[in-house]
Amino acid sequence: MIDFVYLVPLLPLLGFTTLVLFGRRLGEPAAGWLATAAIGGSFLSAVLTFFGLRSLEGEERVVTKTLFEWVPVGDFSVDVAFLVDPLSVAMILFVTGIGTLIHLYSIGYMHGDENYSKFFLYLNLFTFSMLMLVLGNNLLLTFLGWEGVGACSYFLISFWFTDEANASAGKKAFVTNRVGDWGFMVATFLAFATVGSIDYLTLNGTASQMSTPVVTGIVLLLFVGAMGKSAQFPLYLWLPDAMAGPTPVSALIHAATMVTSGVYLLTRVNGLLYEVTERAGWATNLIAWVGVGTALFAATIAVAQNDIKKVLAYSTVSQLGYMILAVGVGAYVAAIFHMVMHAFFKALLFLGSGSVIHGMDNDQDMRRYGGLQKLMPITAGTFIIGWLAIAGVPPFAGFWSKDEILLGAWDSGGLNGKALWLVGLITALLTAFYMSRQVFMTFFGRYRYNDPDASEVDEAWSAYLADAEATSVSASAAAAETAQAHTDAIAAHAEASEAFSTAKIDAATVSGDDEESAKKAIEAADRALTSSAEAEVETKESSEAASAAATTASVALGDAQAAESARSGPALGEPDDAGEAASFLPEAVAARAEHHPHESPWHMTAPLVVLAGLSIVGGILNLPFTKGLHFLEQWLEPALAHEHVVNASAATKWILAFVAIAAGAVGILVAAQTYLQHRRDPALVERPILADAWGYDRVVSAFMGGPGTKLFDAIAWFDATIIDGMVNGVATTVRDGGSVVRRLQSGFVRSYALGISLGSVALLVWFFVRTAA
């Protein structure tokens, strides 16, 4: 039955090739179902392989299955061969199992995408590569899968490539991973140069014969590779950006499977790590500290993120740090245990977040969520289970595995071990806090999608102020205009009365016929006088009214400015309704009110339910109470070169467990006070520097964009100007020299003749001199 292992990677590969050839014709949803069926079949084969391996006796459970010779040159020979042992079988089970669920989920999630079949093609190729990574019996075949998953990750992050940000994120992921791959490659070379072979069994078997620098070198170089793939400081940078990809990709690749391959690789070579622990403990200790340091570092960043996927991304970095810590302290079973548990609950959380994003019209900002548990009951219920699992609440999956790791750290001895444990504990507290924050912001409290954002409120206020100001300006302009009209009317009136007096005087001096006309003129002047008097009164009234209006408008403007400067944020947990400026909110706010969040279709919720179930009961795999319940440990034993012995007493174990539970409880309680009861201002923890990821990403990007680019440009300039300039300089020198020498070619035959004569004479003289001497 172990031969079914061939089918495990073969089926996804077949799925991939079929989709390459016929994907477009199959279309939606056939392409998705085909891909899902391929992975499902692969899962079944993995299950059969598991039973096949189980039927063997303990020590025989390490089987190598060879397909063909891959790269045979000289002393170097590498086969395409699978190492089927408890470790790899455990991995293929969970990779294909979770893979199937995520494929199923994607059928619904990718609905309507124009590159629907291409998405599944990449997913299948990814699964194939991941299985090669896991099953390879040597470093090179693992490297094939290692780079393969990296390439698929690149394709999938930049899946929506028309957006520059996605394209950049994909490239960043690939290039950053390549930095780690450098370590992997050099480790492979070093292993070959020392052992003459790079298959895992030989490497683990000869670890004790290697010199200390070499074995330490191999382990640390492989760790560099693991830092890239498993997103450890300082190479974690790509993972938060990788969230640009579709959410199922984040769940499958950037949470559950690919990112754990660094942990898997280090566990795979546990024989080497054991030797390093024995002989150069500083190196494994370094690994442990990088792990726990990354865990704490990422957890602090996660508390201040507002993008639902970014929180999960940093959480993933943090949890991977735990696994690396476990590897560093030699608790390989705990590392694998946590890897599997993490795959369950983190895939669940990512898929849940995908469901939320899907329901919320692709909005990823948690500040706009809230109260969704009523609108998306299945998503909310399963997400809450995932939250409890990651927050370390017993008896959910994450509690058991995290506890194992912390125990391993405590047990690794000395003050160093206690310090590792303490940092891990603080991280656990933070984990409980930021995950509770996420759950409370998303599913509890008030439904906030219709609320205006702070920026929208600002916009409304400035629109409001601008409006008041415009009113005031136009009112005072009107006042000035009417006042002018009034002044004109007074002047007209004065003129009219002048004309009236003149008419009267004129009438007094005339006689006869002229009297009649003078009388008429007086009458006319009198009428004009009357109307101008009326006009004067009228304009006076309107001028007064306009100036009163201008005063009112300017008072209103003052009020508005006062209100703007006096405006304060809303009460904690309450929306900012923009007060007086409410009618000036942008249209987007009103448009959002039209949106009604909805639960996702069954393809998407079914995987959630399955994963939630696993997150509840997953801990059964390795319960700590009695030796008989260590199923995973017993299963993995043949794959581990040395048994990990826990020295801590039972009492210590209980105390540590309770302390861990207490830390988780504190984290949850603080989050509840802050985000549920609104008794504290969130700004206390959501520091800008945390939201900015301690500025590390920014600094690195600035370096790459600034001095890094400048250096590269300088070298390119050096090439074009100095190196090529020298070549062109030689050419120019030759040409210039030629134009000097050409003068000798005067065209005068007689000067040539003279030259020939003189030359002959010179030659003769030289001959004579030579003969004489």
Binding site: R742, R743, L744, Q745, S746, G747, F748, V749, R750, A753, L754, S757
Partner: protein
């Protein structure tokens, strides 16, 4: 004066060669220059023959034949060029003919 040795021929050849060389350098008329070149060539021929006789080596005579053939060919081509140039531009001296200046 003693016996007639080949030295006399060598001296005569040298004198004729010098006349030709100086003539080539000082005259500007292409035809005269041509004749000077012929003088030089024949001076060399004379030297060859003289030495062949003096050293009793037939090789010198053979060389003369080569020189004469080459000289004849050269005269044919050279005179043709000179004539062609004379037809186009009257009374040109060799100094006027510097079209091949670099």
């Amino acid at each position: 004066m003693g016996e007639l040795t080949h030295n006399y021929y060598l001296v005569l050849g040298a004198v004729v060669f010098s006349i030709g060389a100086v003539g080539l350098l000082v005259r500007r008329n292409p035809l005269v220059m041509f004749m000077c070149v012929e003088l030089m060539l024949n001076a060399v021929n004379l030297t060859f023959v003289g030495l062949a006789w003096g050293l009793n080596d037939i090789g010198g005579q053979v060389a003369v034949f080569f020189v004469m053939v080459v000289a004849a060919a050269e005269v044919v081509v050279g005179l043709a060029i000179v004539v062609a140039i004379m037809r186009r531009r009257d009374g040109a001296t060799s100094d006027d003919l510097s079209a091949l200046r670099g």
